[in-house]
């Protein structure tokens, strides 16, 4: 609980920022939305497993929203959001039942393979999915009310921020619970876990479904914020980006997901604006510095600094 004050301060700054600088509203919404998917990656990292295909759950839920809005005429956000989450959880269960049998590089690559299958389906089935053009997502209704664009964006931002705080807390509690600790134990000794009478596969499957749900929530919020879904949502580069952000933010703390996503988006935004040709080089160098000098990520670096400041000279 020692780090709660700096985190609360950060949340407050993020909440106030769009009021002072309105242009930051959409950027922050997109960064936080991505943060949910990164949080999913962080959950799996507790078990030492890296998924290189988690963007598939972002794509699945985003397309679920697009289909419901366009084909079924469901525009109510209080229906779209749970439906999209259910879709990603179900997909997490189906893919998870298969991938949790594998570990490390095989786990990572199988996730990648599944995501590329989904990407190809979304891109090739033009008449159903709109191909590489994707599908538009009309502005949804909020409890039957149609909001103006500015009001909608503001509402979506605060919804995203509230969910980010709430889910960070829930995931933090989960990781400290016996089930979450069993997930961390799986990383160091699966044999002992089995000899305690615990199914390591089931522990990982639950974590996988939670991570798929988080990625799905991220995809849904992205779709609602951008008003357009394309197969790019599920492309492997997007999955790699999520892992990149998890390492950048720090996999040891739930806040790392959102802090990493915010820093990533800001660096990318400025790098793209001022060095359009070499923004990937700048981002890559940034990550390299983090890995070399702060392997615990930005949150680990902040924790270290706070500890040093708090300890007597």
């Amino acid at each position: 609980m020692r780090g709660i004050f700096p985190l609360a301060l950060l949340v407050l700054i993020i909440a106030l920022l769009p009021l002072l600088e309105p242009w930051t509203e959409v950027v922050l919404t997109l960064a936080l939305a991505k943060g949910f998917a990164v949080l999913g990656i962080i959950v799996l990292l507790q078990a030492g497993q890296v998924s290189f295909g988690h963007a598939m759950f972002m794509a699945a839920s985003a397309y679920c929203v697009a289909f419901l809005a366009n084909r079924s005429g469901v525009l109510e956000i209080s229906l779209l959001l749970p439906a999209a989450l259910l879709c990603s959880a179900l997909m997490g269960l189906l893919v998870g039942l298969f991938v949790v049998r594998y570990r490390y590089i095989f786990f990572g690559m199988l996730n990648l393979a599944f995501s590329m299958v989904l990407y190809s389906v979304l891109e090739k089935f033009f008449y159903i999915t709109g191909g590489s053009d994707g599908m538009r997502v009309p502005r949804p209704l909020l409890l039957g009310q149609e909001l103006e664009r500015a009001d909608y964006e503001r509402w979506l931002f605060y919804l995203t921020l509230t969910l980010a705080v709430l889910l960070s807390w829930l995931v933090w509690r989960y990781l400290r619970s016996p089930l979450g600790q069993a997930l961390a134990a799986l990383k160091t000794n699966e044999t002992r876990l089995e000899y305690l009478g615990v199914s390591a596969r089931r522990v990982l499957l639950i974590a996988y479904i939670i991570s798929a749900l988080l990625a799905g929530l991220g995809g849904t919020l992205l779709a609602l914020a951008q008003g357009l879904v394309t197969p790019e949502y599920g492309y492997w580069v997007r999955s790699g980006e999520l892992v990149f952000i998890a390492i950048l933010g720090g996999a040891g703390h739930v806040a790392g997901a959102f802090i990493g996503a915010l820093v990533y988006e800001v660096v990318r935004l400025y790098a793209a604006a001022y060095a359009a040709d070499i923004w990937q080089l700048i981002l890559g160098s940034f990550l390299l510095l983090i890995i070399l000098f702060a392997p615990q990520g930005l949150v680990g670096m902040a924790q270290h600094w706070l500890r040093r400041r708090g300890s007597p000279p």
Partner: protein, 246 residues
């Protein structure tokens, strides 16, 4: 006494080595059985079969009259058989206390409970185990920072935390300093007797066997060469020649 564990006609081989060739071995309720034998004789294989790690090519294992042959380790653990390993199997990044708390949470059902591991009701029981094995002063240390001897104790403590009816131990005193082995075994056997846990332990140290086993089985070349009270077995000239090398 009634048979708690019954192994009958066990066969298993690895390439040219026959680790079990028609082994029959019963473990009586409440006894402490030592299995001795030369390296590679098949002693650990027996534990591996009884705990579901290996499937015998022939034969079966009954626990409390129930067939447990080839059932997965977690299912066998839930029935009441726990295991301590020759090389301790622990969660190296967790503290000693958290290892025990995880074992206690696993016993109650890891799926239940939303409370943090450190705050579950079992904390008191974890403290008792820490005191019993004199681990209080290292309770908050991560496993990776501890020497082998202590890890061995924690491995056994974790198995005991499951409140098994049968505990299978593979060389419980290996890695423990020779000056401490009797103290460790005294603690362990007291805990087993207090909790009414039957035990089987594979052991190379004949002093430990003489002192703590109720019965000894000699496992040699995949068969039970002899079995009986320690005083009788450890004075058997064939056993002395084939197993102990005297």
């Amino acid at each position: 006494m009634s048979a708690l564990l019954q192994a009958s006609d066990l066969h298993i081989g690895f390439g040219g080595v026959q680790a079990a060739a028609g082994v029959h071995l019963d473990v009586q309720n409440g006894e402490h059985l030592a299995i001795i034998g030369p390296n590679g004789a098949g002693k650990t294989t027996f534990i591996n079969i009884c705990t579901g790690y290996l499937k015998p090519q022939r034969g079966r294992v009954l626990f409390e009259g129930r067939d447990i042959t080839a059932r997965p380790p977690r299912a066998i653990t839930r029935l009441g058989i726990a295991r301590a390993f020759q090389i301790p199997q622990l969660f190296s990044e967790h503290s000693v206390r958290d290892n025990l708390l995880l074992a206690l949470a696993a016993r109650q059902g890891i799926w239940q409970g939303w409370r943090p591991l450190q705050r579950i009701e079992n904390r008191h029981e974890a403290d008792q185990l820490l005191t019993l094995f004199q681990l209080d002063n290292v309770a908050e240390q991560a496993i990776r920072e501890l020497p082998e001897g202590l890890r061995k104790l924690i491995d056994i403590a974790m198995a005991l935390a499951l409140r098994p009816r049968l505990l299978l131990m593979d060389e419980p005193t290996s890695g423990v300093a020779s000056s401490e082995k009797f103290a460790v075994m005294d603690t362990l056997m007291n805990a087993l007797r207090t909790r009414e846990v039957t035990s089987v332990f594979v052991e190379h140290d004949m002093e430990v066997v003489t002192r703590y086993a109720d019965r000894v089985a000699v496992w040699n070349s995949g068969v039970i060469q002899a079995e009986g009270p320690p005083a009788q077995i450890l004075n058997d000239t064939d056993v002395l020649r084939d197993v102990i090398g005297v």
